[in-house]
């Protein structure tokens, strides 16, 4: 059982490594979107630091969402997905391997780049720490929920935009608590409550989302 899981993970990471564009585009999108807001609103540090939590989280949401269409599409095209469906291992388990790979490739870089963007938004140091923690705790949920959307829209025309419409409302709790955590630390209040809720939400997603994704894959493929 473990062998298959590790194989799926390694294969996805290898493929992503070869197509380095995935990591790069996600990062660049995050960077560009974050740069748009100061250009639109003005460079005053006070204003920027007050909008920073929301803006950075929305940019992270959108950046992570871009790569969702490819999560299952390439495997569907070359027949690997069918193999996974026929494999003796539970599909939900194999799906977690793919989602983990997606998070490593598209979620983790955003977590690592975020403090630098945070500096551009004049965030104080402890807020930066909370930002990284919050993203670390919250981005897995984004990948997990996003996978459901990717599985439901597999092979559908215009799936990129459709995924956004389906998945963004479901992202809202993560956004609220994620941005709320950073804002709380900016105002000198503890962010523990927010961070715990984020962790809880990610854990809940970890339990439920792979099953929903597996069900969605069976619906889309059969």
């Amino acid at each position: 059982m473990n062998d298959a899981w590790v194989t799926v993970l390694r294969r996805d990471l290898l493929l992503a490594l070869r197509r380095r564009s995935d990591v790069a585009t996600t990062l660049f999108f995050f960077l560009i979107v974050s740069s748009l807001f100061p250009l639109g609103i003005g460079p005053e540090p006070a204003v920027l630091s007050s909008i920073a939590p929301g803006v950075l989280w929305v940019a992270a949401l959108l950046a992570g969402m871009l790569s969702l269409t490819r999560l299952f599409a390439t495997d569907f095209a070359d027949g690997t997905l069918e193999q996974m469906l026929l494999a003796p291992q539970p599909l939900a388990l194999l799906v977690t391997a793919k989602i983990l790979a997606h998070w490593i490739v598209c979620g983790l870089p955003v977590v690592l780049l975020a403090p630098i963007i945070g500096l551009q938004y004049a965030l104080p140091n402890d807020a930066l720490v909370v930002l990284v923690l919050a993203l670390l705790l919250g981005t897995p949920a984004l990948s997990l929920i996003g996978a459901i959307g990717a599985a439901l829209t597999l092979g559908v025309r215009g799936s990129g935009l459709l995924i956004a419409l389906l998945v963004l409302p479901l992202y809202i709790p993560v956004l609220i608590f994620g941005a709320g955590a950073v804002a709380a630390s900016q105002h000198g209040m503890g962010a523990q409550a927010h961070l715990s809720l984020l962790a809880a939400f990610s854990l809940l997603s970890l339990v439920l989302a792979p099953m929903a994704t597996a069900a969605a894959l069976r619906i889309s493929v059969e």
């Binding site: 439901l152 215009g158 459709l162 419409l165 709790p173 609220i176 608590f177 619906i219």
Partner: protein, 246 residues
């Protein structure tokens, strides 16, 4: 009395049954609406604080209630459709969605129209209105997903799964939005600050809610008949029906 429910699970037998039920629900809608509007306008007194504008609640609140009830019922039909692989259940879910979206839209617009004279702004980011807005997105997502998948069976089941994922998330989303709203308590404006409820007001709202409910059933039956006609258009019973029209 032993009703053979499964007899009605095929489109061919459900179509005429639904057709017979529609006029009943239409009349019930009219009756409740007349009663509700009469109470709302002729009996319910002027509100001490909000004047006559509060009367908007006689459509705003029932519409909001319906928007939430319909989503839950829709998810229920979706679950049945997935569990029993029943086509008709999936069609009922599909039939309810547009009506749910329309009530959500009505709730949002009437909420805005109520807010403007009362609190001076066309929109307030309070927990209830914001949750209604997100509910609208959930409805639109459901409708968009179903209409973008060509294979009917896949569309049914994908939509059903989405509805179930949505219904699980709705309490979580509502809770998050409430939290968010209490955190950013910049304004004390809230749609929850309804006028002090006199019994007549409550009765009026309930009657209007019943009217909307009867309406929803009637319209969902109408829509499910359309869906059946479209899906089964090459079937013999549909051809015979079409010969009777015009």
């Amino acid at each position: 009395m032993n009703i053979n429910w499964f007899k009605y699970s095929s489109p061919q037998t459900f179509y005429p049954l639904a057709g017979k039920m529609i006029p009943w629900f239409a009349w019930l809608t009219a009756a409740f609406a007349v009663a509700g509007l009469y109470i709302g306008f002729a009996i319910a007194p002027t509100d001490f604080q909000q004047g006559e504008a509060y009367r908007i609640i006689f459509v705003h609140v029932p519409a909001a209630w319906m928007s939430m009830v319909i989503y839950i019922v829709m998810a229920g039909w979706a679950a049945l459709g997935l569990a029993w692989n029943a086509r008709l259940s999936a069609m009922m879910a599909q039939a309810l969605a547009p009506t749910g979206a329309i009530f959500t839209f009505i709730a949002l617009v009437t909420g805005s129209l109520w807010g403007k004279p009362m609190w001076g702004t066309w929109w307030v980011w309070d927990a209830r209105l914001t949750s209604e807005l997100i509910l609208l997105f959930l409805y639109l997502g459901f409708i968009a997903l179903q209409s973008s998948i060509d294979d009917v069976r896949r569309a049914d089941r994908a939509g059903a799964l989405l509805a179930l994922v949505g219904v699980v998330n709705v309490p979580i989303i509502y809770f998050s939005v409430k939290w968010w709203n209490t955190l950013h308590q910049g304004s004390t404006i809230s749609m929850g600050a309804a006028p002090k409820m006199v019994t007549t007001m409550l009765i009026g709202m309930l009657l209007m809610a019943l009217a909307f409910w009867m309406y929803t059933i009637a319209v969902a039956l109408m829509r499910v008949r359309c869906i059946m006609l479209e899906r089964e258009r090459t079937a013999e019973w549909v051809k015979q029906l079409s010969n009777f029209q015009e």
